[in-house]
């Protein structure tokens, strides 16, 4: 190692060592800074998991929804084929499924397998179910073009009944979509607010630490210590806050899942699917932990670097 790099290496080791020692000595100050950091990081983690869970819920329900077009018994094969061809060309149609009268009956019987009376009633009459086309839309929120097409007079006259838009499911989806958007916004605002509070408290903590050690810093300055040699330990100290806070926030979320799934015996909290959230957390544990660590370290390092700036300026008068 060349002399210059050796000097840097030795200095770096000293800076880190001093940072760790200061962290241990400043335990009481560290608690305040870390508490708010833990809250911030926990909210971030919770928002990320909640968001993923809601997206999953929406995707699942969206996948189940379809538009049913009921055909008249009198429609000819050619007419049905032509209708299918036209539907396929619509841009918002993801897939089409054709159920003949028999298939529709079969599906109906399966869906109502427990309901003896209904099945008997169906069996006693000739098949009352119409042949059906099931349309899966690409985007649930923009099915107007499909609606318009189905309402055209020459298309409408082929149908035995008005198309079904899976009415109640659509409503549920709208609700969840709306809730997710609101929660996402609330989440972002909360995270930003707490990040700012967190930075301010870290500022304050570092400033108190600097105030306590102002004589030492003055002596360091007079002995010709560089800014980074003085600032370094403070940054190391807050990076330790960040690392510990990240780990604690992950433990808190972990504990929360354990509590809600075992103690409360709940599989969902309102719209939040706890089981999925828990699985998501488990599957992405290391990525989420890494994300928290990066956030904690950045938050700590940036705030302390800024906090020390004004205290390390040289007199310019």
């Amino acid at each position: 190692m060349s002399g210059r790099w050796k000097t840097r290496w030795v200095t770096m080791i000293r800076v880190i060592h001093t940072g760790i020692v200061n962290f241990i000595r400043n335990a009481s100050l560290a608690v305040a800074a870390m508490a708010v950091m833990v809250v911030t990081l926990t909210i971030v983690l919770f928002s990320v998991i909640t968001n993923a869970t809601f997206n999953n819920t929406i995707a699942q329900i969206t996948n189940k929804i379809d538009i049913s077009v009921f055909l008249k018994d009198s429609d000819t094969n050619a007419q049905t084929k032509q209708l299918l061809g036209q539907l396929k060309k619509l841009p918002n149609v993801k897939s089409l499924q054709y159920l003949s009268k028999e298939q529709a009956l079969h599906q109906y019987q399966q869906q109502n397998a427990g309901n003896e009376q209904l099945l008997t009633a169906i069996n006693e009459t000739s098949n009352p179910l119409p042949a059906t086309i099931l349309i899966k839309p690409v985007d649930l929120n923009h099915i107007q073009d499909i609606k318009d097409f189905l309402n055209k007079p020459d298309v409408a006259k082929l149908q035995s009944d008005a198309p079904s838009y899976s009415g109640d499911r659509k409503e549920a989806i709208d609700k969840i979509t709306h809730a997710t958007n609101v929660l996402r916004e609330i989440g972002i605002i909360t995270v930003v607010v707490f990040a700012v509070i967190c930075a301010l408290i870290i500022f304050n903590t570092i400033q108190m630490a600097i105030f306590n050690r102002r004589d030492e810093i003055q002596i360091q300055r007079l002995l010709g210590a560089s800014t980074s040699f003085i600032r370094g330990p403070f940054v190391v100290e807050t990076i330790i806050y960040g690392i510990l806070s990240a780990i604690i926030s992950v433990l808190i979320i972990n504990a929360a899942f354990l509590a809600s799934s075992t103690a409360l015996q709940a599989s969902s909290l309102g719209l939040l699917d706890i089981n999925y959230a828990s699985t998501y957390f488990g599957n992405h544990f290391w990525e989420l932990l890494a994300m928290q660590l990066v956030l904690g370290i950045v938050l700590g390092a940036v705030s302390s670097a800024i906090a020390t700036r004004r205290y390390l300026k040289f007199k310019t008068k």
């Binding site: 050796k6 000097t7 840097r8 030795v10 200095t11 000293r14 004589d215 030492e216 003055q218 002596i219 360091q220 300055r221 007079l222 002995l223 010709g224 210590a225 560089s226 800014t227 040699f229 300026k313 040289f314 007199k315 310019t316 008068k317």
Partner: protein, 240 residues
């Protein structure tokens, strides 16, 4: 700048040219007014003057804790006008500083206090282990390495401070009333150490109130009165 003038500046250790420092406004707020001073390498200069005459301000200008309101300061070839803030630490590493109130780190023992001056500038551990005992020997503190500052007498603490100031072998040592808080015997111990360092080749700038020390040392004496240089004499005694 002419070649001759340039040569003079390079040769000088300390050059102050019409340096004025004012706090607040006007002549009344002026701590130093149009001070010019030349100090050659290896000189031992005593700065005397009453409290408030501007001695401390003069030293603080040299360590760049203060900036002059006007005038030029060149120390060891470094022109302070051209000195950037980020290079101030590099300048201070070349200047050893001793204070009346010692300014030792209370949580570190004698050895650590001296070693600290080397740690700050990134000296390796092996070199620190090699150098610090030597310097403690020079200031007669062998055997006190493990003592904490508060366990030492004032004179011993001041010698720790001197050890810390000289451990990096600075070209200039600036001592602001280092004997101010000491009884005569300890004061004299400290002065002897300063003389020793000066013999090794370090330029020493010492401020003091102590008439006896000034008279015994028989060195160049610069007297400051009301922010101006009242007299500047070689081998002088104390005359105020």
């Amino acid at each position: 700048m002419t070649q001759a003038l340039y040569w003079v500046i390079i040769k000088l250790m300390i050059l102050l040219d019409r340096v004025t420092k004012t706090y607040g406004r006007g002549e009344k707020g002026s701590a130093l007014s149009r001070i010019s001073l030349h100090v050659e390498p290896k000189e031992f200069v005593i700065v005397v003057g009453q409290s408030g005459a501007g001695k401390t301000t003069l030293l603080r200008l040299l360590t760049r804790e203060e900036r002059p309101t006007s005038g030029k300061i060149i120390v060891g070839g470094v022109d302070y006008d051209k000195l950037k803030d980020k290079d101030i630490p590099l300048l201070r590493r070349k200047i050893g500083t001793v204070f009346q109130d010692f300014k030792l780190l209370p949580n570190k023992n004698v050895y650590e206090n001296v070693a600290y001056a080397l740690e700050v500038v990134g000296v390796g551990n092996r070199e620190i282990r090699h150098t610090v005992p030597k310097v403690l020997n020079i200031v007669n503190l062998k055997g006190k390495e493990k003592n904490m500052p508060l366990e030492l007498s004032g004179g011993e603490q001041q010698r720790v401070a001197i050890a810390r100031a000289i451990v990096r072998q600075p070209r200039i040592l600036v001592a602001d009333e280092p004997t101010g808080n000491l009884d005569p015997k300890h004061a004299w111990d400290v002065i002897k150490v300063l003389e020793k360092i000066n013999r090794y080749g370090t330029t020493v700038l010492l401020t003091t109130h102590n008439v006896e020390i000034v008279n015994k040392l028989k060195r160049r004496v610069v007297t400051i009165k009301d922010g101006k240089i009242a007299s500047d004499k070689a081998n002088a005694g104390y005359k105020i």
